[in-house]
Amino acid sequence: MNILLCDDDDVLASMIQFKLSRENLGEVTRAADGKLAKELLNNSHFDLVITDIHMPFHSGLEIVTYIRQVLKQSMPIIVLSAEGLENTVLQAFEVGANDFITKPFSPAELAIRVRRLLRI
């Protein structure tokens, strides 16, 4: 399985990458900003996307919209954000996210949610 992880927090992204690889959930590719995330999405196939909301160039919500409306892809998307306001959560689901995890989060819980969405 190929997983795209979009987060500009390098330390956190490294930890998530390590956790998902350790749980044998797939190969994780990291994008530190929205522009790189779009490029990777255009050029490669991913089975799941995990994205932060606040990123340089394009926000996580823009990435979700891009995947659903421009690329017309239906892979599962998890939005990971410190902003747990009701409006943000609703907006994320409206644009096509499958799950929303609020920071601070448990890496073990994230792995379970990824496993469930990938049905493995």
């Binding site: 390098d10 330390v11 390590f18 920071k103 601070p104 989060f105 448990s106 890496p107």
Partner: protein, 372 residues
């Protein structure tokens, strides 16, 4: 060379001064450019060093952090990675700072076993001693940073050290110490407030409120214990929190506080009684009408609160008394309270307006678009 010296001596003194000034300015500009360039170089190399250290630490940290309750990794393995981190870090202050920042950055994003393991790493690497050392520094910014780090990493052993900074001369240190204690006060008892004698800013109140809102409401302290605190800021804060968290068992103590000599406390007490819908306080509040008649703020508060908790004719009579108050906002508040209190109160209001002196206020009060 001789020619230059001869030409120089032939020059008029104004030209000499001009040339000298130009030379000094040129040298200054050159030095400034060199300084800018070298400081940029130093900054870049520091950044690079930090980045190298960060990626070196991250590998070991990932393993320790995610080892949580896994049987396949023996405890010796965690010990191995900890020693590795210790070795990588050595005695360098820069490395210790990078590691501390990295732990804080990760901890704010994580909960559960992973977050706990980060706290353990912080202690086992004796970074708590590093931050404690900073908390005792002479520089206020280093001190504030040390306090912040201890709080973020949940270092409860530093509680007393942090507490000793509560009355620091520097306001940032004081605020940081205060917030650190709030964060480390896991049972939300806020007992350190007993000895707090420094000012309590609105920003601090807001942060405490936010912290308490996320804690278990059953464990909140009884804020009435601080109503008579020698620090007025703490007493007012306690009143505010009683209102925010609707501590209804404080009503009798609030009623007693109506006789307090401090007017700001009485204002907040009346507001709190109104917000708690304490109908049993309607008589004591209305009995204060004459005593506070000359105080516009208090009269306005009484009129507003009686509109919320008043229920009998004698309360409405007090309100109708306020309709002749010299201050417009008091008259307005009284009219609004009577208007909201039902038909009998409205009748009193209309009777008071028999000469038309309240017509403008009534038009305002009755306008559905202007009702609060």
């Amino acid at each position: 060379m001789i020619d230059i010296i001869e030409t120089w001596s032939d020059l008029p003194s104004e030209v000499k001064v001009f040339i000298l000034i130009s030379l000094v300015a040129l040298c200054g500009a050159l030095l400034f450019v060199i300084f800018l360039f070298s400081s940029r170089q130093v900054k870049n190399s520091l950044k690079q060093k930090e980045s190298v250290l960060r990626s070196r630490f991250q590998g070991s940290l990932n393993v320790i952090m995610l080892m949580e309750s896994s049987d396949e990794e023996p405890a010796a393995s965690a010990q191995f990675y900890l020693s590795q981190l210790q070795k990588d870090m050595g005695e360098s202050r820069l490395a210790k700072q990078v590691m501390t920042d990295q732990l804080i950055g990760l901890k704010k994003n994580l909960v559960g076993a992973s977050a706990d393991s980060l706290t353990n790493v912080f202690r086992k690497l004796r970074l708590n001693a590093f931050s404690s050392g900073k908390a005792a520094s002479f520089s206020w910014s280093t001190r504030a940073q040390g306090l912040f780090e201890l709080a973020q990493m949940d270092d409860k052993d530093s509680f007393e050290r942090i507490k000793s900074n509560l009355h620091a001369r520097n306001v940032t240190v004081r605020e940081e110490a205060f917030m650190a204690l709030v964060k480390l006060d896991k049972d939300s008892s806020l007992q350190f407030l007993n000895d707090y004698h420094a000012p309590l800013s609105q920003w601090m109140e807001m942060r405490i409120h936010q912290h308490l809102s996320n804690s278990d409401k059953r464990k909140l302290p009884d804020f009435s214990q601080w109503y008579n605190h020698s620090n007025l800021d703490v007493a007012l804060f306690a009143l505010n929190m009683t209102k925010q968290f609707r501590q209804l068992n404080a009503v009798q103590k609030l009623i007693a506080l109506l006789d307090d000599p401090n007017k700001s406390k009485v204002v907040l007490t009346i507001d709190t009684l109104g917000d708690l819908d304490a109908h049993e306080a309607a008589n004591p509040v209305s009995s204060k009408m004459l005593e506070f008649w000359d105080n516009d703020v208090l009269s306005r508060r009484i009129a507003k609160t009686l509109g919320k908790i008043g229920y009998a004719e004698n309360h409405w009579k007090v309100l109708s008394g306020y309709l002749t108050h010299p201050n417009y906002s008091v008259r307005f508040e009284a009219a609004q309270s009577l208007y909201k209190s039902g038909n009998q109160a409205k009748y009193i209001l209309n009777r008071a307006n028999s000469e038309g002196s309240l017509t403008t206020i009534l038009m305002h009060v009755e306008d559905p678009l202007l009702q609060s």
